[in-house]
Amino acid sequence: MSDSQFDVVMIGSGPGGYVAALKAAQLGAKVAVIERHLLGGTCLNYGCIPSKALLASAELLHKIRSASELGISVSGEVAFDWPKIQRRKDKVLAKLRGGVKGLFMARNVTLLDGQARFEGACRIVVTRKDQTTETVTARKIVIASGSVPAKIPGWPTDPEQVCTSDDALHWKTLPGRLLIVGGGVIGCEFACMLHEYGVQVTVVEMLPGLLPEMEPALGEALAQVFTQRGIRIQTSAKVEDLAVKASAITARVSGGQVIEVDKVLVATGRRPNTADLGLDRVGLATDRGFVRVNDRMQTPVAGVYCIGDANGRCLLAHAASAQGVTAVEDALGHGKDLTLPVPSAVYTFPEIGSVGLTTRQAGQQQIPVSIGQFPIGHLGKAMAVGEEFGFVRVVRHREDNMLLGVHMIGAHATEIIESATAMIGTKASAADLGEMIFAHPTLGEAVKEAAEDSLQQALHLPPRKAVRIMASFDV
């Protein structure tokens, strides 16, 4: 095999591509990864990691400001150093990029810098920054090119005025007033973080609640916290018009209200990053840019796979990694379908963790369910550490008890949800979860209690009240 011939080539080095590359190498394949920008892709450079670094400082700030609740007095002004916070974040990113590079070297994965373009089903031309090209051939190709933030057509393109999360994570200075368009995960995380750094934040969401894709009560609870803190939220609302002046940006929201801000952050979603790959050269059609795949991540073109954001199945880093492993296992003859549940995590404070079926989906799909819920504030640990906000909700199948979904908001929810993900992934029942021994005192105990409540067996809740209500009727 010559230097430009590989068993598997990944296009993109995000959490899909780099994990797939390591897996393929572990299975003994000769592997190359093509990356046109930064190693680690969106997750490492423009998504998960930088946002968490900035949120960590914001959350500490929030805690220091509420330190008196735990009997700590902080004298003098609590200040933060934005450039220093940014430098710390950049250091974290550099360290992680180095880590990925180190793993590549340890497993002899070849990294090719440049833009990938299909020339045939197993030939890819890589165009480097200096416009020189190299052609590589591969038995199997995995498209892992990810996604980019969606922009709103017709709106200003100057990132100093209207920007996306890509820009906002690397801001040199903070705006005074910010309009966030979109109350999904990205919008909520930025709102939570920037509010703590003193930015006056307004969130406008077109749908009736924040986090519209998740269990409705989570978005409602978060909206309640945000509003108390002074973040302005407008749901079922749309930015009708945007007027950019030298001094400020004026946004007209549906209903006629006018908001004046210094910057606008568009967080309405992400679109697939597949336009530059020359997919038409191999006859690969896309569906609004997404490359459709089956449960083994196979595209209609033999030997070509697509994983992560680019296939549009689930735009989450950990889904991309799992899909990457599935794709290369199939490519190297160990194929199996990927059908495991994918948890969602929102890193606001309080955090949100969610996995499986929501009550809304249960209603839409007419699945008979029972629901259990436990307030985190009832737990000893929650009171002791002063983290009483939030709840865990468990959705189980009404007939066979199977755990269908677990949804929670509260401190450390993104960590605690892993226990529920593991249980749902092993097809456990609510009784299985309820019977587990959870360490005491922990916040995770709420998961066990909520599972028990779904069976009406929670011990730390009073029995459900018997209430009589008269139905309403119409003609």
Binding site: C314, V355, P368, E435, R468, A471, F473
Partner: protein
Amino acid sequence: MHTIRLPKDKALVGPLVMAGWLKKEGQAISPTESIAQIEAIGAQVELQGGASGTILKILVRPGQVVEPDQPLCIIGEAGQDASKVASGLTKSEPQRPEAQTVAKVTSGQVIPILMPQAGQTMEEGTLVAWKVKEGDRIAVGQVIFDIETDKATMEVEATDAGRIARIVVQEGQVVPVKTPVAYLAEKDADVDAYLAVQGAGDRTQNSEDKGEEPEARSQKPEDRRQRTEDGGRVKASPAARKLATQKGVDMTAIGAGSGPGGRILSTDVASAKAGVTAPKGESLSKMRLAIARNLLWSKQNIPHFYAKRVVEAQALFATYRKTKEQFKCTLNDFVTAACARAIRELPAFRSQFKDNTIVEFPAVNIGIAVGTDEGLTVPVVLNADRMGMQELAQKTRQVVESARSGKLEGVGQGIFTITNMGMFGIEEFLAIINPPESAILAVGAIQETVKVQDGNILPTRNMTLCLSVDHRVIDGIMSAQFLNRVKELLENPEQLVHC
């Protein structure tokens, strides 16, 4: 007619679930009578009727998630038709906007490809191999997959043209006839929409699932094997163990559970029968069913009798050793050749009992019993009496290999079967006739022994042949003639090699 709705009430802290109806359709209700139970967070709500009338139509089922103001049932005078009101209600219900990252594509035409019914008795078939994959375009008449029934393996041709959008039955799965095995559609999303309408995949566990495969049994033996690990520990959930103890269910008897890796879940225990010694049940493959049916019929309907003859195999063994390189033959090929010769000479062994007559067949077609992982199969070597040793060996090898890979040759044309357990060290055994044939020869292992000749003890080798015959066709004297002729040929194997 009135529509009874869930009221907006402070006690109704959502999410709310319809726990159950206390009244049925056709029953009368009064305003203060309780009609249903609703589960709320922290409360068990009894819902009173609010109005008087007869329940004409119930609109929500137990377990359904409900919201304040949602219509629950329609009441009126007994005998009124509520279907119009009901359909009006479901249409006018405000739809929540679909908050999906990926927009649903408008539904195009979707054509299911079905497991065909090949023959009137076929109830289910095994999908052996796909000849196309997802994304392929197929034309009418193109072979798209192979199936196996209890009778045969066959190719299935497409009756519609289009693009294979989704394959839902994988290789090795058994599904009833007329079950969709794949879907033709231009866009994958159309299939999702189609399946949603069909009500498939309604147990979807997460938003990423793309509709579950129809229930299908896998024929791979490892899938059905009971998972016990490290010292026979059964993989089971704690709740399953507890329930099993309560019910007195033996977990090892349940077999593989429905959880990942065959883990036994409480639902598996719930459906298992109690009893510590409960035997392990396993539904039969097509092949095992056919074996069961044929052999039971044979034992019940054919009057078997048996005759045994020991053959001195010293010369045979020596000849085999000498010629096996040249002819690439096995010991069994010598037995086949000897039987072929004897059958040609004794027409009774080419005859079958049929409707109170005995039918004689001209061709000496010999079946060779082959054990495979799935069961017993009998490929047939046609006209075995007309072949030299080399050709016979080559032909036998070919039909046996085909049988092992699932393709049976000469089905229904055999007139005699040879079954050999010598390679397993079995000294002698009695076989069941393979109907409609009239005889079967069971061949035992060649064993070293001694013989007394002229007062001297000499080392030699013996092999035992046991013949099972249909007494309606073959009598004792004929079976003796046959065995003696076969013995003569095997003890003088040069006659078999040079002919």
